[in-house]
Structures are given as C-alpha cells and as structure tokens.
C-alpha cells in the first residue's frame, strides 16, 4: 500500500523569527550546503560538456576566451614541432586559459546542478498513481494518472495520492502537501471557496473528496515546478540581456585595443631597434585579462542562483523576469489581514457602563462566547481568564441554548439559566435591549464610536434588557511589521494596506503599522484600479492574493504573488506562488530581487575595475625589452615578463572561482536607501576592485618564481 513519500527536505519549514535588521530570513527552508559534494561532482562533469563552442557562443565573453585558448594551444603545438618559443610558458598560458573557460562553465553548472538536484527530488514524488475516475454513468473505474485529462472527475479516499491538479467539487479532507511545501502539517481542502485547489502528488490523509481535474499530464503544477527549477524554461531577463550587450561591447573594444597593439609594437620595435613584437600567447593573455571575464563567467550563474534563492524561500517564480521586477517594485500592496495584522481581531479590553462592575461584564462576555469557536470568541474567553481570573466553564449542552451568529441578527450568545446573554454589533444589541424594555445611556453610542475611530471593533454585551458594556476587539499589528515597513520606506518602497474595513478603522491601523497609504473597503475592482493608477504614474506594483476575485489584480501587478492555498485561477494569474502561503513573504521576494540586481552590478563593476591592475602587470612585461624605461610601470615589481603575464592570467582565472560562492549566494543585502547602498558598494566593489588585484597578482608572481614555474 502507501509507500513513504520522500519529503525533501525533512526539516520542518518555519519562518525564522522576524529580525528587524534583516529582510531576509536567516535560515532557508530548502537551502542545501553551497558545495554539496554531489552537486559539485555533477557540476564538474557538466563544465567540460559546456566547452562545446556552439553552446558557448551564447556567452560572447567566454567564447572569446575559448577561441583565445584554442589559438594559443595551436601555436603551442606548432612550436612543439619547430622547437621555437618558450614552451613551458606557452603551455602554462594555454592551460590557464582553458581553466578560465572551465571555471566559468563550472559556475554556471553549479547553479544549474543545484536546480537539477531539487528537480530530481521532486521527480521522485511523481509516482504514477492509480486514479479512481468517475464515469459518466456514475461508476468508478481505475485508470493510471497519466490517462487523466482536464475535466475528468476522480474520487480520492484517505491515503490516496491525488492523481493530478484539480479542484475539490465535493467534500472536505485533510491533505498532506509536504511534497510541494515542505510543510508537514496537513492542510484542509474543501469544495467551494478559496481552499478548493489540490495539487497532484499530494496525499489525502482523511475523508473522501471528489476532484475535478484541471490540467493535462505534463502540464501539472509539479511538472512546471520541475521544469522551472531545472532551468529548462530559463530565458534571459531583459536586464541580463542589456548587461550582456554591455560586456560584449567592452569585449569588442578590448579586442580592438589588443589587435591594434600588434601594429603599434611593430612600429615601436622598429623604431627602438630592440625587443620584439609580443607573441600571440602574450597578446591573447592581455585580451583575456581585459575582457570582463569575471562577470561574463558568472552572469548566468547569478541569474539561476537568484531563482534558486527564491525557491529556497518556498516561492516559485514563474520567470526570472518576475524576480528582477521584484527588485524594481515601487509600491507593495499588502493585505491587512494576515500580512500586516495577525489573522484575527482579539479582545483587548472590557468597557462597562455606569452601574455595571467589570466582573459582571467579563462574566457575561465569557458566557456568551463559550460556544463561539471563532478566534475572536476565543480571545474573549482568554481575556476574561487573564484579566479577571474567570476560569473556563463548561456548560452542559442540554442546559443551554446557544444562539449562533447570523448576518441577519448580527449577534450571538446563549440562553442559560433563564438569562439571555448576547454580544454583537452595537446597534443590534441596543435594539435587542430596547425591545425588552431596557435602555441604553446616551454616551453608549459615543463609547462605541470611539473604539471604531481608533481602528477597533466594538462588541456590545447585554444580559436580557440590561446593557452591560462593550468588548473592545482590536487588530493586532504583527510584531516587527512596523520596522519592516519603515525599512521599506527607506528603500524607497511605498507600502499600501488593502482592507475591507471602513476608512476609519483602516486609517487607524494604517497609522499604527506605519504604511504609506491604504485602500479601505477594497473590492477586487478597486484593487485593480489602484494598481493601474500606480502603474500609469510609472510605478511597479507587487501584491499578494489568493482568491479567484484577486486574479485580475494579480495578473495586472508587475509582481503577483499567489498563495498556494489559493484557487487555481489566482495561481495562474500571478507570476509567483508562495508554497507556504505566507503573504509577508512578498517583502522577502523584493529583497531577493534587489540582491540579484546588486550582485550583477557589483560583479560588473568589480570586473571592470580589475583591469587597471592587469595593465600594470602586462604592459611593462610586453615592452620592457623594447623600451626598458617602461619598466617604471611595473609598480608591483613582478619578476620577469613571463611571470607577470602568467600571474595576471592566473589571477584572472582564479577570481572567477573565488567569486562563485558570492554569485550563488548573492552579495550581502542591507535595506538602505539608494545613496548609502551605492556608496557602500562602490567602495567595496569599485575601489576594492581596483586595489584587490595588485596584491593578488604580486602574490601569484612570487609563488610562480618560488616554484620555478616562470
């Protein structure tokens, strides 16, 4: 019967405690160690396969390096036969040029292999389940899952694997979705509403449900997820393409500079009457050192790793473009409930009217809420217990009549020992009291309004014709939320709270949470219009949503993060799905997007800044024999022309490998304003990029001489 499902990974996903200083959770749910031996093995093998010039053509910088490596190798072979040239030097140059290409390939392969490993573990869960399909006559037939088509209906009992993506059309069941989310606690799936979507490959734990299949085999969520993490559908993002144009352009410029250097040297050597024109190996070395190999080699790895990082946060981005857009977002639309505030309102205070003791009110409030299983009801019981020491009581069911809440009466309560205890909307309770001959003091309405104005919800309490007071229910802003929103503002991102509350309540919570704007009594149409308005003024908008009625807005937003618990329509409309269904995740997604862009910019700047030092290594080495005076440019004091050129080439190759972890992990991101971020990163990657190679090349030169390799 049921095989154990490989849940990958076994760690229970858990959002780390909110750290106000960082937008990125420290512990990543799906994180693997950076250099997992299995992944490294796979990547090393793949880097050789990537030497194929046809595939390398997509990366113009590394293609030029490969051509250079091939040329020096050809000259090396020629010289092996003629015996001319400095064979040892040429051999080492060729070798390191090949290493340069391999290192870049390795970086890309590492990023891809991490995705592939994840895909493999997902694929293991794709067992070909047997589905119980309902025929048109209403009988059940057994078919394989792959035979199912969209529109088919199936029955799933407890312990059955759900054979495909679909919607529950009948029944309610607990489902284990750990395959997709990594979350081991079962979730409830029921027909109707926003919790009807089920995913193929997940398992029903209890009860029976009838499911209408919504996708054909090969197009399921799991299939798409595998394709995404494998990078099969990876397309270059717009910014990546633009950056590629830049580095290809720079490569062309350096190609011109190096190619024309040959005739210049012919002229100079003839004029000086000494020295010789630099050899092909030296010219190729100069070229490879100058062209932006660091960013050229790491660019695609950065992109893949960015997607991977999003994945580690249990968010599935449908495209790299979406992750990039997340970094650019100007406005975040955050749902109040569940994102800014805890999911439910809580009782925080009992307010009595004259002549009523606190104890009386607390007692009535507690009794009227005993049967109220809503979180609000429970919070009243808890408040009564904590504040007034009222212990939970059990009322035998036959002795009491519980009055459930209805939209018509707008109150609930209990009839118990002849008492009629009610709690509900203020005006409904007043009417209730008056009907029974009681009365409400004049200030009662004002009491209630004051609570509303401050963002709370007043719940009046009465015992028959006697009005007792008000329970103050309040939205609780999540811990650390205010700090996060302040950080967002610092980063230049406006946060907008979306709520169904009235403007008064919304304004109060908005000011408590510190959001920049709010949209009260928001209908899905309002949301859509708000997004359009923001976009018309040039802003990029991100939002979360789960319901079918969120779909248009999710599709319109530049970043639409759909909740995995949401409907299929919502998931189709968004460009990201949060498997943990945690709307706060939107903020992290933005941080990851920014981190991705910063990593690209930092490595580009670093790569270009590195060139300065390489000139000081190679140019004097090239022309010291022709113009000994140029030796003054050898400020690093490199030993010989050969050791200098080799040291520069080796440094250039090693820096790629050294930066692979940075490319995969992303540079450290702090939520700062743009000016501070720029100053900091320019200092590290710009100025640092100019300085770093000097000691690096010097050290390699020392080693080469010590090892008698040059």
């Amino acid at each position: 019967m049921p095989t154990t499902i490989a849940t990958e990974p076994q760690v229970t996903p858990q959002l780390p405690p909110d750290d106000p200083t960082s937008l990125l959770p420290k512990k990543l749910v799906r994180a693997r160690p950076l250099f997992d031996p299995e992944i490294v093995n796979r990547a090393v093998r793949a880097s050789f396969g990537k030497l194929n010039p046809v595939t390398l053509l997509k990366n113009p910088v590394m293609f030029v390096v490969e051509v250079g490596a091939a040329i020096t190798t050809v000259f090396l072979i020629r010289d092996l036969f003629t015996g001319a040239g400095n064979l040892g030097f040429q051999f080492q140059i060729s070798l390191w040029l090949w290493f340069t290409v391999l290192f870049a390939n390795f970086a890309e392969a590492m990023a891809e292999a991490r995705g592939k490993a994840q895909a493999d573990s997902l694929r293991k869960t794709k067992t070909d389940a047997i589905a119980k399909r309902l025929t048109s006559s209403g009988t059940v037939e057994q078919v394989t899952a792959s035979a199912l088509r969209a529109g088919d209906c199936v029955i799933c009992d407890a312990r059955d694997l759900i054979p495909g993506d679909g919607e529950v059309i009948e029944g309610i069941a607990t489902v284990d979705e750990s395959v997709i989310t990594g979350e081991s606690a079962p979730v409830i799936r029921e027909s109707g509403g926003d919790r009807s979507a089920v995913t193929g490959g997940t398992r029903v734990l209890s009860d029976q449900i009838k499911i209408k299949i919504t996708s054909n085999p090969g197009e399921t969520f799991l299939d798409r997820m595998i394709a995404l993490v494998e990078g099969a559908e990876r397309q270059k993002t717009p910014n990546e393409i633009a950056l590629n144009i830049l580095i290809a352009g720079l490569t062309l410029i350096f190609l011109l500079a190096v190619i024309t250097l040959q005739p210049y040297s012919v002229f100079s050597v003839a004029q000086a009457g000494s020295g010789s024109v630099p050899t092909v190996a030296v010219l190729v070395s100069l070229l490879v050192c100058l062209i932006p190999t660091t960013i050229g080699g790491l660019l695609s790895a950065i992109g893949i790793a960015g997607m991977d990082r999003v994945m580690q946060h249990n968010v599935l981005a449908m495209s790299g473009k979406a992750v990039e857009a997340a970094g650019d977002v100007n406005s975040l639309l955050l749902d109040k409930t569940g994102t800014i505030t805890l999911g439910n309102r809580q009782a925080v205070e009992f307010l009595t009217i004259n002549g009523v003791t606190d104890q009386e009110l607390a007692d009535a409030a507690q009794l009227s809420s005993l049967a109220d299983e809503t979180p609000e009801g429970r919070s009243i019981v808890i408040l009564a217990k904590e504040k007034y020491g009222l212990r939970g009581r059990h009322i035998p069911e036959h002795e009491a009549e519980f009055i459930p809440f209805s939209a018509y009466t707008r109150m609930s309560g209990v009839n118990f020992e002849g008492r009629q205890l009610r709690k509900g909307a203020t005006d409904a309770i007043i009417t209730f009291v008056m009907e029974r001959g009681g009365e409400a003091p004049g200030y009662f309405k004002e009491m209630s309004d004051r609570i509303s104005r401050n963002g709370g919800t007043p719940l009046a309490v009465a015992d028959g014709k006697r009005l007792l007071g008000i329970i103050h229910l309040k939205d609780i802003v999540k811990g650390g939320m205010k700090e996060r929103i302040a950080q967002l503002r610092k980063m230049g991102i406006r946060s907008v709270m979306i709520t169904g509350d009235n403007p008064l309540t919304a304004a109060a919570i908005a000011s408590e949470a510190g959001v920049d704007d709010f949209l009260a009594q928001a209908t899905p149409k309002d949301k859509l219009e708000y997004i359009r308005k923001e976009q018309a003024s040039g802003r990029l908008v991100a939002m979360t949503g789960d319901g079918t009625n969120d779909a248009p807005a999710l599709a319109q937003a530049d970043v639409g993060l759909a909740m995995n618990t949401g409907t299929t329509a919502a998931k189709e409309a968004g460009n990201m799905v949060d498997l943990d269904s945690n709307p706060t995740k939107l903020i992290e997604v933005v941080a990851i997007g920014k981190q991705l862009l910063i990593t690209r910019g930092a490595l580009t700047t670093f790569s270009i800044a590195n060139d300065v030092a390489k000139y000081f290594a190679i140019i004097p080495a090239m022309f010291m024999a022709t113009y000994p005076a140029l030796g003054k440019l050898n400020i690093m004091g490199l030993h010989t022309p050969q050791s200098a050129v080799l040291a520069a080439v080796i440094f250039n190759a090693l820096i790629i490998i050294a930066l692979v972890p940075l490319a995969l992990r992303g540079v450290k991101y702090r939520p700062l304003d743009a000016a501070s971020l720029l100053r900091r990163n320019l200092l590290i990657y710009g100025i640092g990029g100019i300085i770093a190679p000097f000691p690096g090349i010097w050290l390699i030169d020392q080693l080469l001489v010590a090892l008698r390799m040059a």
Binding site: P238, G249, Y264, Q271, N330, G492, D673, N681, G686
Partner: protein, 599 residues
C-alpha cells in the same frame, strides 16, 4: 606653477561659472520656443528663414525624421563646401587669385568633411590656398551650421529625457534655426567686435608686402579675420583663418583676446548643462554634470600646466634656467607665444581639447610628453569635458547612461537615469557610439603605423606612411595617434609633425571625422527616440541619486576609466614611454640625423 598662473585659471573658470546659468536659461527659452529678450530684434530673421525654406516650426519629428533632416543638412553642407572650394577661382573676393589647383579633390574632401563635422582639421593652409570668399561663404557658414546642428542633437537628447510617453524629439530645422539666430549669431557679433577692439584684423584687402628691418621682403596676409574668429571659438570649430591659428597675432593679438577665445569655447557647452537641468526639471542634475566637467577640466589643466612649467630635465641638466623668475616664464617655452606664457598656453591647450574646438595658441607637438598627453587624452575621452557645443553634452549623457547602467544595479534596481529606465536599446546605442570611436582611432592609427605604399602610387609617396612623420620613436607614434584622435573626436587640433596633406591621410582622417561625428550622434538620437517613449519612474529613496558628489565621482571615474582602459596600451607606447625616456635623459632622434639637423 606660479600663483599668477593658477589665479588666471581660477578667474577663467569663475567667469564660465558665472555665465552658465544666464545663458543656459536663455537657451531653455530658445529651444522651448518661448519669447526671449532677443525676439523683438531677431524674430523677423527666424520667421524669414522659415518662410524662405518652407519650414513649419511647430511640426515635430520622430528621431528617424530628425536624423534624416540632420543628415540631409550635413550632406548639403558638405557638397556646398566642396564645390565652393573647387570653384574658388571663378568666385569673387579672391585678391590673391587662388584657383582650383590650390584645393585638389582629396584636400577639398578632407576640408569639407572637416568643417561639416565641426572638426575643422586643417590639412590646408588658409592664407596660402583659400580665397576670402571660400573662407566666409564656405568655412564660416559651416562653423555656424555644424555648431547649430550639434546643439540641436543635444537638445533632442535632452527632450528624450525630459518628455515622457511621446514619440517626437523636436524639429531639427527649427532647432538649428533658433540655435543660430538667438544663440550663435548674437554672441558672435559681440565677440567679433571685441576681437576687433583687441586688434584682430577685419578687411578684404590683398596681402601686404613689406620690407623687414633686415631688408628682406615679407608678405603679410590679410582678410576678414575677426568675424570668423568669434564663431570659430564659440562654435568649438577651431579652424583658423591662418595656418598658425590662434597663435597668429592677427587672430589672437592679446592676452585679453586669448581669454575671450577660451571663454567663447567653453561658454555654450557649460551653459548647456544648465539648459539640460532646467529642461529635465531638476537643475541639480545639470550642475552635477557641470561639476564633473569642472573636476576633469581642473585635473587636466593642472597636470598639463605642472609638466609644462617643470620643463625638460634634459635642458635643465645642461644648465639651462628652467625655473620661473620675475622676468622669465621658465619651464618649457618651445612652441609657445611669449605673450601668452606657460599658464595661458597650457590652459588654452586643455580648453581647446576638452571642448572639441581645436584652435591652438601654441604648438602641442612641442609640449613635454605628459603636457602633450593631456590634450590627447582629453580627446580620447570623446571630448566630454565641457566638450563641443552640443557634442559635449550628448557625449557626457552617453557616459551617464553607461555609469548608471554599470553601477546603478548596485542599488538593487534595474538602472534608470532621470526616471527613464536604461535598457537594451540605450545600452546598445551607447556601446555602438563608444565602439565606433575606439575603432576609428585605434584602427586608422594602426594602419598608418605599418602601411607602406608602392612607387608612383596615388595615395602617398613611396614607402611607409610613417615617412610623413618629422619625429621618430614614441613621439612620432604620438603624432599619428593624435591626428586620428583629433579627427575622430572632431577636434581638429594637430600635434603637427605629421605631413597629412596626402590622399592617404586626407581620406583616412576624413573618414575618421565622419565616423566620429555621425556614428556617435546617430546612435544617441536613436537612444533619444527610445527614451522619449518611456514613462518616468517617480523618484524615491530607492532611486539611484544622480545629482550628488557621489555621482559626480562615479561619472568622472567612468569617463577616465573607459578612456584609460581603451587607450592605455597605445598611450604607453607614445607619451608615457616618452616621458620615462625623457626622465632618464634619453632623446629619440633616429630620423633627425638623416635629415642633417642633428650632428
């Protein structure tokens, strides 16, 4: 460096700073079609121009139409200039009877491209080959036209940033007419009169023959100099009436006229920064560019001045007095005019190559290696230190695009400048312009370094192209590099020391001028066409700030590093090694013994 020299440099920059805002604000009005204080006097001329040529001033053009208009304007200017030169024998105002043989086809081609591209490279010698009519009707007219076209392109690019979700970037014909009528013409008239006041000549007389004190006969050239001088500087054209250019006493008689010349060169490029800031709705953006200009200008001028004042150690070692004294300028005075001295020569050399002017008041070839490296490197940056009229601004905006694109990612957003996203199209166009410039300089210089010609060929005398050099070694290489850099940068100043009036050099230098002008500004107009359609992203705390000192530093760094990375290998074989050789007391004189000058 002397304190009086430093003070003069400071005064010069102070005057430029003072004029930036008023002239810049005036140009905003001009190019936004508003009324200016000059309208009562000059509007009739603008209207007349439109009537005669059938221009509808309110019809806006897309970038493609704008570019087509610019190209047709330039082609027409080229043909007119070429034909007038070739036909000068049949035209009036020709007291010296210069004829068609004085302007052979290759020379006329080079001169025509040179003036149409705002280069004003002079392979001809004005007073020995050209009639007054050609100087006035062909060259001076192009001085106005090429300058106005440059300003128009800059304004079009500014509109690309300033407007949003539009398709058009202005009307080329209206922009050129307005630039000429309300900016170039009035300043040139005032400037011309100031030149006359300083003693610049203005006549149509035949050349005067005089007997010198020693009894020798000397021919003194005459001509309408002052009128041409003002626009030569103001339009950053630089083509002198005389071969000696601004070192000639009739062109630049006094230190005051020298200051006037430098003022006219910088005033429009400086003012355009304000125009830019105002038009994009944030004058801080303009001042940031002005600051970047100033920083690079000051670095250049003080490096140049320092090395010129330090002079040649080889001469000092021989016991020559090279320190400045009250009666002696000291330093390296070779090729400099005594009335300007070292500070004003170094300043002029920096100013003329920062801007794409190319007028010279001293012999750049005679500068110390590093003193001469400054003008050369200034041009290699693409002349974006104040730069040519219009060309300086659109050049620096290209670097802004690159700087923002490279470093802008480091704030965690896709790059944007002035609220406009910098994407594929803009990067592609900016890179195209940079590559074209690098290609032209590096490849032509490489060809000329090694090419040899057969006997009785048309292109060049038999033998190597480098035989046209007067100097050998690194300095000779510097001369070739300078020629192609100057032409590509549309500067027109010459290191000299290279005989360039042969078909080979005329053609390649002419091509370099065309590449440097059109393969630079067409991509930028294309970028303007793409930018103008984009929405502006509102500025927030997350926006890359492009108005503070940090951006100024980044922009300066980008200009210097892109320039240095592209040209460092070439420069190291030219002025850099020459400098070290000079320091170690070595002279390069391989060709000189064969000429019999050196014993």
């Amino acid at each position: 460096m002397t304190s009086i020299g430093i003070l003069q440099i400071a005064i010069f920059l102070g005057i430029i700073l003072a004029c930036t805002k008023p002239l810049g604000a005036h140009m905003v009005k001009v190019f936004e079609g508003q009324r200016t204080f000059l309208h009562p006097v000059l509007r009739w001329l603008e209207v007349l121009t439109y009537k005669v040529t059938g221009i509808k001033e309110d019809v806006e053009q897309r970038w493609t139409h704008y570019t087509a208009a610019l190209l047709s304007f330039s082609i027409f200017g080229f043909l007119l200039t070429y034909l007038l030169q070739r036909a000068q024998g049949y035209l009036p105002f020709n007291p010296q009877n210069f004829g068609t043989p004085n302007m052979p086809p290759d020379l006329a081609f080079n001169t025509a491209t040179s003036f149409v591209t705002n280069t004003n490279w002079q392979a001809y010698s004005g007073e020995a080959t050209m009639s007054y009519f050609v100087q006035m009707a062909a060259l001076a007219v192009q001085n106005f036209a090429s300058a106005a076209a440059g300003i128009a392109v800059a304004v079009a690019l500014i509109r690309g940033f300033a407007r949003q979700e539009k398709k058009t970037i202005g009307n080329f014909w209206a922009d050129v007419t307005r630039a000429t009528v309300y900016v170039l013409l009035p300043i040139s008239i005032v400037g011309g009169l100031l030149y006359v006041s300083q003693g610049a000549i203005q006549n149509l007389k035949p050349y005067t023959e005089v007997t010198t004190v020693e009894g020798a006969k000397q021919v003194i050239a005459q001509g309408p100099v002052a009128s041409q001088e003002a626009i030569k500087q103001l339009g950053t054209n630089g083509g002198g009436f005389f071969n000696a250019n601004s070192s000639h006493p009739f062109e630049n008689p006094t230190p005051l006229s020298n200051l006037l010349a430098m003022f006219l060169i910088f005033v429009i490029p400086a003012a355009l920064t304000y125009t830019f800031g105002k038009m994009v709705g944030d004058t801080r953006q303009g001042w940031a560019i002005f600051a970047a200009f100033s920083v690079m200008f000051l670095i250049g001028v003080f490096v140049c001045y320092h090395f010129e004042q330090a002079g040649n150690p080889i001469l000092a070692n021989r016991g020559l007095q090279t320190a400045a004294t009250s009666g002696q300028s000291g330093g390296n005075m070779e090729g400099k005019e005594v009335r300007f001295g070292i500070a004003n020569s170094a300043l002029f050399a920096t100013v003329t190559t920062d801007a794409s002017c190319g007028a010279v008041n001293s012999m750049h070839d005679s500068y110390t290696p590093i003193g001469g490296l400054v003008p050369l490197f200034n041009m290699m940056t693409g002349e974006v230190i104040f730069g040519g009229v219009g060309a300086g601004l659109y050049g620096i905006l290209l670097y802004c695009i690159l700087a923002v694109f490279i470093a802008g990612l480091m704030v965690g957003r896709t790059p944007e400048y002035l609220g406009k996203k910098i994407e594929q199209k803009e990067v592609k166009m900016a890179m195209l312009a940079v590559i074209a410039t690098a290609f032209s300089i590096l490849v032509f210089a490489a060809l000329s370094s090694v090419i040899t010609f057969p006997a009785k060929g048309y292109w060049n005398p038999q033998g190597a192209a480098i035989a046209n050099l007067n100097n050998s070694g690194p300095h000779g290489f510097g001369e070739i590099l300078y020629a192609y850099t100057s032409s590509t940068g549309n500067n027109g100043s010459a290191f000299a020391g290279l005989t360039v009036n042969t078909p080979w050099y005329d053609l390649t230098l002419g091509l370099a001028q065309l590449i440097g002008r059109f393969l630079f500004l067409i991509p930028l107009l294309a970028a303007a066409g793409s930018l103008v359609m984009k929405k502006k992203v509102p500025e927030t705390a997350g926006t890359f700030p492009t108005h503070g000192p940090l951006f100024v530093g980044l922009l300066v760094g980008t200009v210097l590093i892109v320039g240095a990375l592209t040209f460092f290998p070439a420069l190291s074989l030219g002025p850099i090694v020459e400098h070290y050789l000079m320091q170690s007391g070595k002279l390069f004189s391989m060709l000189l013994p064969t000429l019999g000058i050196w014993s």
